[in-house]
Amino acid sequence: MAVDESALLNGYLVVGAMLFGLGLVGFLSRRNMILMFLAAEMMLQGVSLSLTAWGRYHNDFGGQMLVLFIIAVAACEAAIALAMILMLFQQGGSLDIAVWDELREANVPAYVDHGIPEELPAQPPAWPKLTPAGTAPEIPREQTDYRPHV
């Protein structure tokens, strides 16, 4: 049975784009260096996936070859990046990327992390206290399952 090649490609590309987008959002929003690294890896995987899909679509192994390269490079990168993160953590005692800002211009003030304002301690919901009045409405029998005006 013939496969609908372009539909297949579309699916893969959408998944690849989602992976890339998620990685990007993660990279931009996270400050933990390990998580940023993981997000970057996720972007790489998104690209790799779309490359494989294009390779399949064009019946060309160039895409897959490129992916193999990406995997190899990503492995090296992971080794180096994790080693560096380890060193940075040992020196700075923190995984926060914002701690390392020494490459900024000399007269630009350092970024000051004001943090997110602390959440107020959780309080029990205060329900309104109403004095009971009157009698309970009488609901017709046939309307116990279905009430049209509610």
Partner: protein
């Protein structure tokens, strides 16, 4: 021993070699012996000049044609061409005939100059060859220059002893003598201009020799700038000569014995007076040459630099600013005498400038108190005499000017060196009001100075008497037209009055400094005594020369007959018999009486009863003459108001334009990148997420652009 060409080359070459040797070795090797190469070279150059003079005299001098009754001399010149310095083939374009045509001058064929048609000269090459010449005029100049230089150099050994710039001084002196000997022996106007500037440069360097002293530096600058005005005129004259004559050479170019191209002042030109450019062009050439000569020889409108030039060392004042360099203008006019003779207007201008300068400078000299400055004004005045003689335009006048040039070189050199000796002993004080009665302390200086003063005043039988009388006689000689006669007659009386004034101011200085009660300024310290032999021997030598030169040259008449063979003077028509042999004794009597009157007046006022001062000074003050004289006729003030101030204002405007506009633009270009950097710098905040956002935004913008366009 040597023939003329070899000698002509040797004379400038020796000082040049000495200059190079002193410049190379003086600072570290020769030090206080720096005078050795220069004095040796100057001595040899003097011997060579004498040999040259003898040789030229033998070939050209009198006695070659004894039986001749007509005094039409045969011009004599010898040319040595060393190499061609510049050559522009086919440079000459003959001027269109009507270019110089003026309504007053109908004979345009002579206006253009070259005899025959100017088409002969069409497409001629402009060749500037390094050519040396030997003729009576240059031979006389060479001997004078080298002899005075030698004497002054010997004197400088004593005077400059111990100066830190000793080697520099002798280097400059050598360079000056080289330039001056080249100036008088080159044979075309282009090279004459080069060495004209060369001596000007040496003058500048030597006036500013003590350049740490602000007055000396300013005086050097002034001399240089004032000379520029004259040189400008000279340069224009050279251009005009090229246009009018199609050549810049003095001499004729010979092929075998045939004249292939004629020079401006050569032998062929000397025998053909009609060839000289007359009319408007000729007058313009002469007036421009006169402007150049006025600058170099400190004549009336441009004389202001010479008194200030006395800031230089005294030997320099003696050598350059009295004896030799300032006579370059006289030499130039004498050399170009045929050109001047062709335009009477220019001649009258020369005579008027000379006469006026002589009188004005003498009047100024009366009230000056600086010994050297008195001598400076006296130099200006005597140079004015020479110009006056040149302005007669006769062979008699030119020869008289050259005669006075030679004698003046000796006695003015002597006076300056004497003044230097006084300065040396008195710790640099030259104010004659603070000196007095030095004849006991400085006997040699006193007696030699007296002889120099007598010579300058023109007392018989000193050198100045003969040459001054020759000038007076030349000016008094009858002129062809009545108007010219009256003009020269006026100038004659001006010259006569100047003679009296000269005697007066010369002896005023002499009486104040050397006679009367002894006054020695405290600056003299313990060394108020006669200078060393290095300094006194030149004084004695020059004093003897001041006595002998005039008499000798006058009585033998050799200088006159010798100079009359110079090509420039031959065409002036020779010297009449009557004027030469015995001279005019009535004239001599009158001038001697005037001179003695001047000396007597000086004696009365400054040595005799002081009461006599009471009537002389008020008399001068009453007529306003005293103020005029002591303020030097307000020349400096006039120049300050008319030239210096406006130029300063212009310069200041230009400087502020430069500072605010040009520099502002350049600074703007410099500050623009800085501003841009300051604008973008906050982006580099060190926050990784921000960079990532920037990259994403950039990517989005690019992709958006890709999609839209």
């Amino acid at each position: 021993m040597f023939d003329v060409p070899a000698l002509a080359i040797l004379i400038p070459a020796l000082p040049l070699a000495a200059t190079l040797a002193t410049a190379a070795l003086g600072r570290h090797v020769l030090r206080q012996r720096s005078h050795v190469p220069v004095i040796t070279a100057l001595g040899l150059a003097f011997l060579a000049s004498t040999a040259l003079l003898v040789q030229v005299y033998r070939e050209a001098g009198p006695g070659q044609d004894p039986g001749k009754s007509t005094r039409q001399e045969i011009p004599y010149e010898r040319i040595v061409t060393l190499w061609t310095w510049a050559s522009v083939p086919g440079a000459y374009e003959s001027a269109p005939k009507d270019r110089f045509k003026t309504s007053e001058v109908p004979e345009t064929s002579e206006v253009l100059g070259p005899a025959g048609s100017s088409a002969d000269y069409e497409g001629r090459d402009l060749r500037v060859a390094v050519t040396l010449r030997a003729d009576p005029l240059s031979a006389v100049m060479l001997v004078t220059v080298t002899l005075v230089s030698l004497v002054v150099a010997i004197y400088s050994v004593g005077y400059m002893h111990g100066d830190p710039g000793y080697w520099r001084f002798f280097t400059y002196i050598g360079l000056f003598v080289f330039s001056m000997t080249m100036l008088v022996s080159v044979s075309n106007f282009a090279l004459l201009y080069v060495f004209w500037e060369g001596v000007g440069l040496c003058s500048y360097l030597l006036i500013g020799f003590w350049f740490q002293k602000p007055e000396a530096a300013a005086a050097g600058k002034k001399a240089f700038l004032v000379n520029r005005v004259g040189d400008f005129g000279f340069a224009l004259a050279v251009f005009l000569i090229w246009i009018a004559y199609g050549t810049l050479d003095f001499h004729d170019t010979m092929t075998g014995s045939v004249v292939t191209s004629r020079g401006v002042l050569g032998q062929a030109a000397a025998s053909d007076a009609a060839r000289v450019a007359g009319g408007a062009v000729g007058t313009a050439i002469c007036l421009l040459l006169l402007l150049g000569a006025c600058g170099k020889s400190a004549q009336l409108p441009l004389h202001v630099w010479l008194p200030d030039a006395m800031e230089g060392p005294t030997p320099v004042s003696a050598l350059i600013h009295a004896a030799t360099m300032v006579t370059a203008g006289v030499y130039l006019v004498a050399r170009c005498a045929p050109l001047f003779a062709a335009s009477p207007d220019a001649l009258h201008a020369v005579a008027a400038v000379g006469g006026l300068t002589a009188l004005v400078a003498a009047v100024i000299a009366i009230t000056q108190n600086d010994l050297k400055r008195i001598l400076a004004y006296s130099t200006i005045s005597q140079l004015g005499y020479m110009f006056l003689a040149l302005g007669t335009g006769t062979a008699l006048g030119v020869v008289a000017a050259m005669f006075h040039l030679v004698t003046h070189a000796f006695f003015k050199g002597l006076l300056f060196l004497g003044a230097g000796s006084v300065m040396h002993a008195m710790g640099g004080v030259v104010d004659i009001r603070r000196l007095g009665g030095l004849r006991r302390r400085l006997p040699v200086t006193c007696w030699t100075y007296l002889l120099g003063s007598l010579a300058l005043a023109g007392v018989i039988p000193m050198a100045g008497f003969w040459s001054k009388d020759a000038i007076l006689a030349a000016v008094n000689a009858p002129s062809p037209s009545a108007a010219a006669s009256a003009f020269y007659h006026c100038l004659f009386w001006v010259a006569m009055a100047t003679a009296g004034l000269t005697a007066f101011y010369t002896f005023r200085a002499f009486f104040l400094v050397f006679t009367g009660p002894e006054r020695i300024p405290p600056e003299a310290g313990g060394h108020a005594r006669e200078s060393s032999l290095w300094m006194t021997l030149p004084l004695v030598f020059l004093a003897l020369a001041s006595i002998d030169v005039g008499m000798h040259l006058q009585w033998t008449g050799s200088l006159r007959e010798f100079l009359a063979r110079a090509p420039s003077i031959v065409s002036l028509g020779g010297i009449p018999h009557a004027a030469e042999a015995e001279g005019d004794w009535t004239l001599a009597g009158v001038s001697t009486a005037v001179v003695l009157l001047g000396i007597a007046l000086a004696w009365l006022v400054y040595r005799g009863a002081p009461a006599s001062q009471r009537w002389l000074v008020p008399l001068m003050e009453a007529t306003g003459l005293y103020r005029l004289s002591s303020n030097k006729f307000y020349f400096d003030q006039a120049y300050r108001g008319l030239v210096v101030r406006p130029l300063e204002r212009l310069a200041r405007t230009a400087a502020s334009f430069d500072h605010w506009l040009i520099d502002g633009l350049v600074d703007l270009i410099g500050t623009a990148p800085r501003g841009m950097g300051a604008l973008l710098r906050p982006l580099q905040g060190g926050l990784v997420q921000f960079y990532a956002v920037a990259m994403v935004v950039g990517l989005v913008v690019l992709l958006g652009a890709l999609l839209i366009f």
